[in-house]
């Protein structure tokens, strides 16, 4: 059983869908098991790149998901998705933690 304090993971399909919708995305490129996303702008390409690795479960860790949401501007959608699919409320108490608390 997962710890109630462990951060949730996010489905890759959701992240990919949001990134494709984002007006900040210049291009995406898949090589092997790594997909790279390039933000548009004038700074060096290396600074604008983000990489996602496709594992067996195809999940993106919370840290990476929020970083991408901040860069590409879909934080509201991500927080809504986490509330609906993972019962995670940012700054709130999860249902699992509520059960444990006296």
């Amino acid at each position: 059983m997962a710890s109630p304090f462990q951060l949730p993971t996010v489905d890759y399909d959701f992240i990919h869908q949001q990134l494709k919708k984002s007006p900040n995305l210049e291009s995406s490129l898949r090589i092997g098991y790594v997909t790279s996303y390039f933000k548009n702008g004038t700074s060096p390409l290396i600074k604008r790149a983000s990489y996602i690795h496709h594992g067996k479960s195809n999940q993106v860790p919370f840290e990476k998901a929020t970083a991408l949401a901040y860069k590409f501007g879909f934080m509201n959608e991500l927080l809504d998705w986490l509330r609906d699919n993972r019962q995670y409320v940012d700054g709130g108490i999860s249902d699992m933690a509520k059960e444990l608390s006296p």
Binding site: L7, L29, G32, S36, Y51, H53, K56, P61
Partner: protein, 157 residues
């Protein structure tokens, strides 16, 4: 989606003595890179020697960091780390060379802080372009020398 299949990659099989010698030569620069192009300007071979780190995060993902290429990548399975490193560097090369993003591989690296070594600039004998990565950040510099450098040789058909 672009998918390049004709890039083959293998780790160089140096003897221990050779790799020790090379790491001693690398004392003044943290990472080195050599680019070979054919007459038409097409990228043929890239030899990279760069330090890499991986650590296990709290949610059981492996975080790979390659500061010389600005790469941060989460990998689920520890056995995928080597493949993920080469795939992400390949992605960067393909984006700058084939997909037409940015201003070319060397130019993008120079913009990120890679430099032509001073000795090379004076002699300028070979056609191959070699670059090295330097930093003023002392903490990063110490870290770089404490790690085992990863050597990659990319052959682009």
């Amino acid at each position: 989606m672009h998918d390049i299949k004709n890039i083959s990659l293998y780790l160089s099989n140096d003897t221990i003595e050779e790799s020790n010698k090379r790491s001693r030569d690398m004392k003044h620069s943290m990472a080195t890179l050599e680019v070979t192009r054919n007459i038409h300007g097409k990228l043929v071979q890239v030899i990279i020697s760069t330090p890499t780190w991986s650590k296990l995060t709290e949610d059981n993902f492996h975080l790979i960091q390659i500061p010389t290429f600005g790469i941060e990548l989460f990998v689920e399975d520890g056995s995928d780390i080597d493949m993920a490193i080469s795939d992400s560097i390949k992605a960067l090369i393909t984006a700058t060379e084939t997909a037409g993003l940015g201003k070319g591989f060397e130019q993008e690296l120079k913009a990120f802080g890679w430099e032509i070594p001073q000795e090379e600039a004076k002699e300028n004998q070979s056609d191959d372009i070699s670059l090295e990565f330097n930093t003023n950040n002392e903490l990063l510099f110490d870290l770089m020398h404490s790690s085992q450098p990863q050597e990659l040789e990319l052959q682009l058909a």
